[in-house]
Amino acid sequence: MSEGVDVRFAGAVGGFRLEAELRLAPRAITGLSGPSGSGKTTLIRCLAGLMRLPGRMVVDGDVWQDERRFRPAHRRPVGVVFQEASLLPHLSVRGNLDYGARRAGGVSAEALAEVVELLGLGPLMGRGVARLSGGERQRVALGRALLSRPRLLLMDEPLSSLDAASKAEIIPYLERLHRALAMPMLYVTHDRRELDRLADVVLHMQAGRIVPGPERPDEAAALAGLSPQDRDALALAALRAGLSPASHA
């Protein structure tokens, strides 16, 4: 059984064509950036099973989609954090956390306590969701996704609707999450700083395709093994030659 997620989609929605092939490493956050309308959200929706485009998707050796089969969203152990607050407004914070947990076969009290601790949800538990700040809401949404026992976590610009202060408040939680979780995660964002702090690998998307972006994964890997001095020297040489570091190396 191969760990991680292998994906290939090729199809059109309306006039837009998505042709994406990617692999999400088993224990890493894969960052995905790209201009608005480049298909990032469409890709997330296809991965979550909310939308169906022709293609193939295999998660830890299980086929979720191929030519004949398609697991709809409610049969996929996938956690999704949407861009804007997506908490169910008729439920309390606890009700939201329970909603997915119950349907995923329930979670132990320890698992609940762990997620509550990890995301600092303790003081929020009894509150109604209308009284939460933007940052608190996204933390609850994240906790709810985790408690549904996903094997793949998808985050679609989870911080983009937050102000700078709320962002600064939630990023440390995401970093802790990264260290604590052993599952593939896809993190979509426009924000360079979020990518720098959270993503292990960065993919770039343009016009429905995964393209070699400013940060190619192979570059990142190549550069990661070098000392800061070597990296600087390489960058300097690249600047002089007017070339990108990877093609130089």
Binding site: A48, G49, L50, P72, A73, H74, R75, R76, P77, V78, G79, V80, F82, S86, L88, P89, H90, Y99, G100, R103, A104, V129, A130, R144, A145, S148
Partner: protein, 222 residues
């Protein structure tokens, strides 16, 4: 007097419960369906607002008559006609109040947007599960509004009942018809009692609706 009030309330209660059950899937389909012709259906379902009750009553009378295409299949069950019966009145009231149930429920489903159902799906709720645990509770104000409107509208109906009810005491005689008959026979004192009762009832309903609206305003998340 008590009997006519009881018949009216019974009619309104049956109509409200049955109509809410019937209108829910229709409203859901109108809110979520993608068929291009759904607005055609929506228009047909809204007709009872525009048509004079006499027109509706006339067609229903024909439909309920013995030997009509609607009554023919019911013959083996011993039902010859539904005209001048309580059951017929309930069906007529359902048709007459249909738009008052479908519209608010449809609006509530539409206001909800697609997102909550998608969220529920990503949390492993099947479509039916999500409908009962997310869509219905989120649209509860629409249901409450629909229930109040349908109940009130049924209490206030006159033309349709006049056409197909027949004013049989304890069966099809309702308050609005009784008031008409009392006035016809110049029994103003009794007419006053029933009429004033309806005015108070109507005021109570409108007040309830407005308070409901304000509550919704206040509770809306920022």
């Amino acid at each position: 007097m008590g009997e006519v009030v009881w018949t009216t309330i019974r009619l309104a209660a049956f109509t409200t419960v049955l109509l809410l059950i019937l209108a829910t899937p229709v409203a859901w389909w109108l809110a979520r369906g993608r068929a291009w012709w759904k607005e055609v259906i929506a228009a047909v379902l809204t007709l009872p607002i525009i048509l004079p009750p006499t027109v509706l009553g006339f067609y229903l009378l024909i439909a309920f008559a013995p030997g009509s295409p609607l009554m023919e299949p019911l013959k083996p069950f011993g039902v010859r006609t539904l005209a001048f019966s309580f059951e017929g009145l309930v069906i007529a009231s359902i048709v007459y109040s249909l738009p008052f149930a479908v519209q608010p429920i449809r609006s509530a489903f539409e206001a909800m947007g697609e997102r909550p159902m998608e969220v529920a799906a990503t949390l492993r709720a099947s479509p039916l599960d999500a409908f009962f645990t997310v869509a219905l509770p989120m649209a509860r104000r629409g249901f409450l509004a629909a229930a109040i409107l349908v109940f009130a509208h049924t209490i206030g109906e006159f033309g349709v009942v006049l056409m197909i009810g027949g004013s049989i005491p304890g069966e099809t005689e309702v308050i609005s018809i009784r008031i008409y008959q009392l006035v016809e026979s110049l029994r103003f004192d009794e007419a006053h009692k029933l009429a004033a009762g309806l005015v108070a009832f109507a005021f109570g309903v409108m007040l309830a609706m407005l308070l409901l609206d304000r509550g919704a305003e206040r509770r809306r998340p920022l």
